[in-house]
Symmetry: C2
Subunit: 189 residues, 2 copies
């Protein structure tokens, strides 16, 4: 069951933008982050969410998409995320967030998958631009943006080829292919 | 359902050590890590697992437990983890692992919870000691040890008090109490 969720939880970058995400759903997702493990239980993560058209557009303008698809500038208007969860680190609690945001992000993305959503953990962020449009206090470090929506693309996992190339790619039907290393490669005996 | 898993997935530090974890279960858990998101899809994480008594003891000797319980030296013989997943970073793939190990660790811990196991993401590791006993190649950075077993303690989530103290503590019945910040504190409007 969790295996099924993990398999379905692919990174999606095109969405049915017109399908809204309600605020309460984002709130429930943040609660999954809240209840996840935190180094020394410090819980330095704070969150800002967005599911409103204008604010979404401001956030979108500060994200970079799909480094391996240089000819693709990111999702077109109409295929953009319908909501966002911004993951921040509160520097008044600690200066070092360890992997707390990775742990929390995974809980949130799996929760989104369960809700029929999908998305992408975005770390390529114009942080100063985002700080400005959302008026984020300097006490918060911007760590991640989780872009969410109803996925409008097919993502296929496939084995890494003999040449070891892990770059994802799109075929002529715009299906997104993601090479994943085999278990035998990553589990050291 | 995922919410239930996330709530049940507490950090446990005492186990029914005599209840074994089979190798295949650890292999399935590593596969959850394998199928989780990785920055730029580089997939630099590698894994070593252990479910064998002698090896478990060697690993245990290189872990530090529960920083907020200084009078407790960690679980006694008989209450120690029955298995481990060591999360390594392959420096021949990248030098920078970002939050990949946080993402993968959360998939694995949730998968363990689903299997009726529990455990703790341990980052306080005597890395050189662990490297020596497991003969870990210098190409791998030791990132995390996931300690697993059938939990033998009760962990209770409670609100952070007005004084803001987030230190976990144990009561006279050895119940482990973990203060968690309220959603209203972490979700910035």
């Amino acid at each position: 069951m969790l295996n099924d969720l993990v398999v379905r939880n692919r990174s999606y970058r095109r969405f049915y933008q017109e399908v809204p995400i309600v605020y309460e759903a984002l709130r429930e997702l943040v609660d999954l982050g809240r209840l996840s493990a935190s180094g020394a239980n410090r819980q330095p993560l704070k969150y800002i969410v967005s599911c409103e058209r204008e604010r979404n557009a401001q956030i979108f303008a500060n994200l970079k998409w799909a480094g391996y698809l240089p000819e693709w500038g990111g999702p077109e208007e109409g295929e953009r995320p319908a909501g966002y969860v911004m993951v921040l680190g509160d520097t008044t609690i600690t200066q070092s967030f360890g992997i707390d945001h990775g742990i929390a992000a995974q809980s949130i993305m799996l929760g989104a998958t369960e809700k029929g959503l999908g998305g992408c953990i975005v770390a390529s962020i114009n942080k100063e631009g985002l700080r400005q449009v959302l008026a984020i206090d300097p006490r918060y470090e911007i760590l991640l943006v989780l872009a969410l929506g109803k996925p409008k693309e097919t993502v296929v996992i496939e084995p890494v080829g003999p040449e070891g190339d892990i770059k994802y790619w799109r075929d002529g039907e715009q299906v997104h292919h993601v090479p994943k290393r085999a278990l035998a490669e990553i589990l050291i005996e």
